[in-house]
Amino acid sequence: MASMRDIKRRKSSIQSTQQITKAMKLVSTVKLQRARANAERSQSYFKCMYDTVGSILSRVGHVEHKYLLPGASEKKAVIVITSNRGLAGGYNSNVVKLITRNEELCKEDLQIYAVGNKGREMLNRSGYEIKETLPEIIEEPAYADAMLLANRLLKSFEEGEIGEIYLAYTSFKNTVNHVPTLLKLLPVEYDAENPAEDSSQSAIMNFEPEDVEALDMIVPKYIASLIYGAMVEAVASENGARMQAMDNATSNAEEMISDLALKYNRARQGSITQELTEIIAGAEALG
């Protein structure tokens, strides 16, 4: 049996770890609330954006537009949104797994645009080509950053350097439920069955300039808003995941501490008993 001193030392070390995980949980709870408020505030924008793009695409039908056709190149760009910090459970590795486990995405054809350091580190280790690293923009998601990234990607798409653009992020369903999601940004795919619900409205919608020209201008905004939305949701998911991970860590520490407390008491009792036996044995020997 370990000595009393060892057990005591171990216990106090776990206690201080528990204090850290508890504090981290509180911090991420506060951050989660803020991030969730942000995500909710921007939601109406994306819904409107999605509806508008949907109504345009459903009217335009199968027009030969550069954003609706696959690009000339085999290369695929993937924007990978992860966090800069770890200790968030499976949050980062789940996003990375979306790419490494996906058979349609060949390692050789991919160009990674890594938003957040953790994803870059993991993908770099498995030998993916990292085209760009943008660790700072996930700290405080700003629409301007998303717009710049979208413009760069669209430019390489138009120049034929990349043929498809994907977005890998963690979608925020609620505080405990986060779903790693892989989304195809370009060529724009639109669910042709969906628009039926409000076809009465989209049937009479007019466009100025004409549909195709409007697509030219709206698609970049659409892509930018999707990237921004993904960043905002990813931040909320990150903090949610960290909160959960730290909550688990805290309760695991609690369990270990009570286990060690029991062991410590047993060891203490054992040593008292032993000392007593020794004293009595000594007294008997003398008598």
Partner: protein
């Protein structure tokens, strides 16, 4: 809707709801030119160009600098999805003036490698900001 002289206006940006309310008329600049929208307009989607946004509501008039985005117009409702929009009090006049001078300089010199289209857009934005302030 209480009467036919007003309609619902919603201006949303990626990170906030910029404006929401009943208005009598909205005017702004589009790729096809200046437009003024009154209630009962035919359904129309337009692309925004930098310009001043005038909102006429029952209590008076409001202005804002609208830089980019697009608008969905329905007979009883307008939704403007604005990427960049500012109230006059949010504009930094010195910055706008400096930006205007920079853009003018670039357009005047027309050095090799200057992105003329970008400079023109920057100039337009700066002019809009200054106009809204005055």
């Amino acid at each position: 809707m209480a009467d036919n002289n007003s309609f619902q206006l919603r201006i949303i940006t990626p990170d906030r709801v910029f404006y929401e309310g009943e208005v009598d008329m909205v005017e702004f600049n589009t790729t096809e030119g200046q437009v003024g929208i009154l209630p009962g307009h035919i359904p129309l989607t337009v692309i925004v160009k930098p310009g001043i946004l005038h909102i006429s509501e029952a209590q008076g008039e409001k202005q804002a600098a609208l830089h980019s985005g697009f608008a969905e117009i329905l007979p009883d409702k307008i939704t403007i999805l604005a990427e960049i929009i500012e109230w006059p009090e949010e504009i930094d006049e010195h910055r706008a003036e400096a930006a205007m001078e920079r853009a003018q300089e670039r357009l005047r010199l027309k050095e090799a490698g200057t992105d003329i289209v970008r400079a023109e857009i920057a100039l337009q934005k700066a002019i809009t900001r200054i106009q809204v302030l005055r």
